[in-house]
Amino acid sequence: MTSGLIEACFGGLLVLASAAAADAANLDSLLRSLAREPPQVIAFVETRRSPLLTQDVVVSGVLEYRGTARLSRVVTEPYGERIDIDGSDVRIQRDGRPERRFSLRRSAELGNLLPAFSALLTGDRAALDAGFETSVEFLPDGWQLDLVPRQTGGQERIEMIRVRGEGDAPACIAVLAQNGTASAVIRLGAAARDAGRTPALDCTGPHREE
């Protein structure tokens, strides 16, 4: 799974360099371009599929990034919900309900999503490497970063977090379950606005992979 385009670019200069080394250099430059100063507010649309449900559920709202390990997920449609993550403390508030608290540890998905998201927005390569095995791929219409968790925290297991984007902006994050199918897809920014009412459960968006 190496990208011909990028290898061609570097090929003349680094004939002996391994693909991994190239990946590393690419990832560094990608991370530098993705880094943002907090606070950031990013619109999102999240599509989720559950074996308990007959149809996918879709919620939308904004992600508020307030610095390392501090993230809020504010759902505005179709109901109000606010999840605040501070360190590994998770608080869930819903309209007219008492607040619930739990730990990131209890959920492998959250436990992996947050560090990944946080590392991308701070451009923290070390944090990313600590939590995941990474591989980056550059496609003609954008890039794809695959993050395989080194350890999972909760009872459920997730196989991979796949982030896709174009230029200096991530467009989509997919959480892939053990069988390789996506259990959740989060579209970000412009991709969220383009998603429509019932977005499909894949992370391909405008960048179709062959």
Binding site: S50, V75, S88, R101, S103
Partner: protein, 786 residues
């Protein structure tokens, strides 16, 4: 020093006059060794403080006795991990819990990661209060399903997916949070942390009682080794706090100090004996009567009681300290030309009077009705009698007669001039006595130390840290608890349930932070049956589920496990506390609900009591079966009662002592001369302590008894020495050696950092000096003025 070495170094030179001396010495050591082996085999050291407390006279006191060191609050250890990233601290916290969960030293170890045994899950519809106020119907289910749908649309979905089909209202989650010990602190990575998020917090409940320093030490060692194994990062520190930690710490400190004080005292004693007698076997022989006293005292206590309390040992050894003087009198009177046997025979009446007077006085403790005190009495009496008899019959057979006569020492002769000091006139005696008594009576400040906490010299900062940690993990306040009596577990649980709303009111008004009792974990059978009766039948519930899920995207038949579980719950036999025994919560429950004298006793624990008055008012309205216990108040009352008992014993002992001395001396004047120094010394020490604002504790009292015993002996020997110059000098020599060696030992103790040792040291040191001086000016026979 090992007996074998003593034997091998026993010189032949000094015993050349008597070939049997070495044999007698060997026989004596052999007897001691046999006794030692016997004692080690039969005697068990007990740490149960109740041996030392009087029979409780009220149910509250009975509980206090039970609670001292044994209640759950006293067995809790608070553990803090700090100095690393919170993620690493949390990881370590979970590793510790996993490592120690199965450890036999711990009943419970918790860090916030709640887990409920899987077999308990089926009881959830009997345990939950979720349907007490509203029924399990379509409307309630609809609200729950709407929430679950939102959960499934959130990142929490994967964690909840397995739960929703059988438990759509998440009752197990609310039970788990109810079962999480008390007020839960904040959690990071599933582990408790302090509010600042810097320290990971854990709570462990030891199996050993709080006052059992050895058991606590084992638990602490297990903790330390688990911590070392789990933690490669040397920056991370573990702090352990709690009564058990303090008791282990104090034992360690006391032992360390006692060890160096003992070493220093032994070295000083050896030097002093060599200087005094110029015969180096003396330091080998002089300890033998005391060693015999100690071992036979222990053997006697072991034979009668089986257990001996640590305090018995401490006090008992203090009291038989007077026996160290017996061989010294013998050595000081030994000189060339006097057969040792004859010497012992001539000292015997005085020695025997001393033994009898103190022994009979201590006999009062035998009748005190308190096991610990009776043990002290038995130990001391046996010890003193054995020390007297060995000094009389064994010691003389182990030496030759080649001792320098102190009466020939010019230095002593010069010192002997103190014996020509004028006697203290009775008027002056009465005046000093009057001043001292007045001081005792009118000195300001508390006369008695009733705060037992003041005796445990736990550094103040550790106590403050303990209180802070306790508040952070919501551990029960060790001072307050309420007890509800009932005829069986079921009625106890019903009573607790009836008190729930008034307790919640205390929380709401801020009087307490939280409360805990058995019914929070296991509701009464009546309540469980009531809940069962309200659970809908399967057909009805199925209809309700269908109605509730209408228009929602849940798969058909998804909630069949839920309907089945509710139906199973309807047929369950209600959960009893007994059924929970084998679980982590069961041990917790055991502390909150237990059998006592054929009745059930439920404990209500409070955390962070802010307003004791409200608690009092609550207790007053809670019915006659509920007693609120303020441990601090009760323990003080117990200590006061105990002190009264000891004081009465001492008063009787004083009278007996005078009677025995009177029988031995057969003269009121001679009795006066012997008793007067001791009486004035006792009152003077009391006056000094009072004037310097030192509240008296039990250790002062016991030390006063030792001082009095020493005083009686000094006076008896001075009184015995009569007019003969040489005899007076020998007596002076003996009493100088006795008092200086005793003074040295106890002066060392008075520099200890441990209040208990200091109390004993100061009191006895003062007693030795005063008794010595007063014996010189009061106990000599007036004839010498002629």
């Amino acid at each position: 020093m090992p007996a074998a070495r003593r034997r091998s170094t026993a010189p032949a030179r000094t015993v050349k006059n008597d070939g049997g001396a070495l044999a007698w010495f060997g026989l004596w050591l052999g007897l001691l060794a046999a006794l030692l082996v016997g004692v080690l085999h039969t005697l068990r050291l007990s740490t149960d403080l109740r041996l030392f407390l009087p029979q409780p006279d009220s149910p509250a006191r009975a509980l206090v006795l039970e609670g001292i060191g044994e209640g759950p609050a006293a067995r809790l250890l608070m553990i803090a991990l700090e100095g690393g990233e919170s993620v690493e601290l949390a990881r370590l916290s979970h590793v510790l819990v996993a490592a120690l969960r199965a450890d036999p030293e711990f009943q419970l170890i918790a860090n916030g990661a709640g887990d409920i045994p899987s077999w308990l899950v089926e009881y959830r519809y009997l345990l939950t209060s979720g349907f007490d106020d509203r029924p399990l119907d379509a409307a309630g289910l609809r609200a729950a399903l709407e929430e679950r749908l939102q959960d499934l649309a959130s990142p929490a979905a994967p964690a909840l997916e397995s739960l929703v089909p059988s438990d759509p209202t998440l009752e197990i989650v609310s039970i788990a949070s109810r079962w999480a010990p008390r007020r839960s602190p904040r959690t990071i990575d599933g582990a408790w942390f302090d509010d600042a998020g810097r320290r990971a917090l854990l709570v462990a409940e030891t199996r050993a009682a709080g006052f059992d320093p050895d058991g606590q030490q084992r638990a602490l060692d297990a903790l330390e080794s688990a911590f070392r194994q789990a933690n490669a990062d040397t920056r991370i520190r573990m702090t352990i706090s709690g009564p058990g930690r303090f008791s282990a710490l104090m034992k360690e400190r006391t032992q360390r100090e006692a060890a160096w004080l003992g070493t220093a005292a032994t070295a000083g004693l050896v030097v002093m004996l060599i200087v005094a007698y110029r015969r180096w076997p003396v330091p080998l022989l002089a300890p033998l009567p005391l060693a015999s006293a100690a071992l036979s005292g222990l053997a006697a206590v072991g034979a009668v009681y089986g257990d001996v309390h640590g305090i018995t040992l401490a006090f008992g050894f203090t009291l038989i300290g007077v026996a160290q003087d017996y061989p010294i009198h013998f050595f000081s009177h030994q000189r060339a030309g006097l057969a040792p046997i004859a010497n012992a025979r001539s000292l015997w009446p005085t020695l025997a009077t001393g033994v009898a007077a103190t022994g009979i006085a201590y006999a009062v403790f035998l009748a005190s009705g308190v096991t610990g005190l009776a043990q002290i009495g038995l130990f001391s009496i046996t010890g003193l009698v054995v020390a007297g008899l060995t000094t009389r019959y064994l010691l003389p057979r182990t030496i030759g007669d080649e001792f320098p006569d102190p009466a020939r020492s010019p230095a002593l002769a010069r010192l002997g001039r103190v014996l020509s000091l004028p006697r203290l006139p009775p008027v002056a005696y009465a005046a000093i006595m009057g001043v001292c008594l007045t001081a005792v009576l009118v000195a300001p400040g508390a006369a008695w130390q009733d705060d037992l906490g003041a005796l445990t010299p736990v550094p103040q900062e550790l106590l403050a840290e303990d209180a802070k940690l306790r508040a952070e993990v919501g551990a029960p306040d060790p001072r307050f608890l309420a007890v509800v009596a009932a005829k069986d577990a079921e009625s106890a649980l019903q009573r607790l349930e009836a008190l729930d709303s008034s307790l919640q009111e205390l929380v709401n008004t801020g009087a307490i932070a939280s409360f805990d009792h058995a019914a929070r974990y296991v509701p009464s059978g009546r309540r469980q049956r009531m809940r069962q009766a309200r659970l809908p039948a399967p057909a009805i519930l199925e209809m309700a589920v269908t109605r509730a899920a209408k228009g929602m995207p849940f798969r058909d038949g998804l909630f069949a496990p839920f309907v089945a579980d509710v139906n199973r719950a309807r047929g369950l036999e209600p959960l009893t506390p007994a059924a929970l025994r084998a679980t982590a919560q069961g041990t917790l429950l055991e502390g909150l609900l237990h059998q006592r004298d054929g009745n059930m006793q439920a404990v209500i624990a409070f955390s962070a009591v802010a307003d004791p008055r409200s608690l009092d008012q609550w207790a007053a309205g809670a019915g006659p079966e509920t007693i609120l216990i303020d441990l601090k108040r009760e323990v003080s009352a117990l200590a006061a009662a105990q002190r009264g008992r000891i004081l009465r014993c001492l008063a009787v002992a004083a009278v007996l002592l005078v009677v025995v001395v009177g029988i031995a001396l057969r003269s009121a004047r001679r009795v006066m001369r012997v008793v007067a120094p001791m009486a004035l010394t006792t009152v003077a020490i009391l006056a000094l302590l009072r004037v310097f604002g030192v509240p008296l504790d039990l250790f002062h009292l016991i030390s006063l008894v030792l001082a009095a015993g020493l005083g009686i002996d000094y006076a008896l020997y001075f009184e015995r020495s009569g007019d003969d110059r040489d005899e007076r000098l020998r007596t002076l020599h003996a009493i100088l050696v006795c008092s200086l060696s005793t003074l040295m030992v106890f002066a060392l103790l008075s520099f200890s950092s441990i209040p208990v040792l200091r109390s004993i040291g100061i009191t006895v040191a003062l007693g030795v000096v005063l008794n010595f001086l007063l014996a010189i000016v009061l106990s000599r026979r007036p004839a010498e003025r002629a």
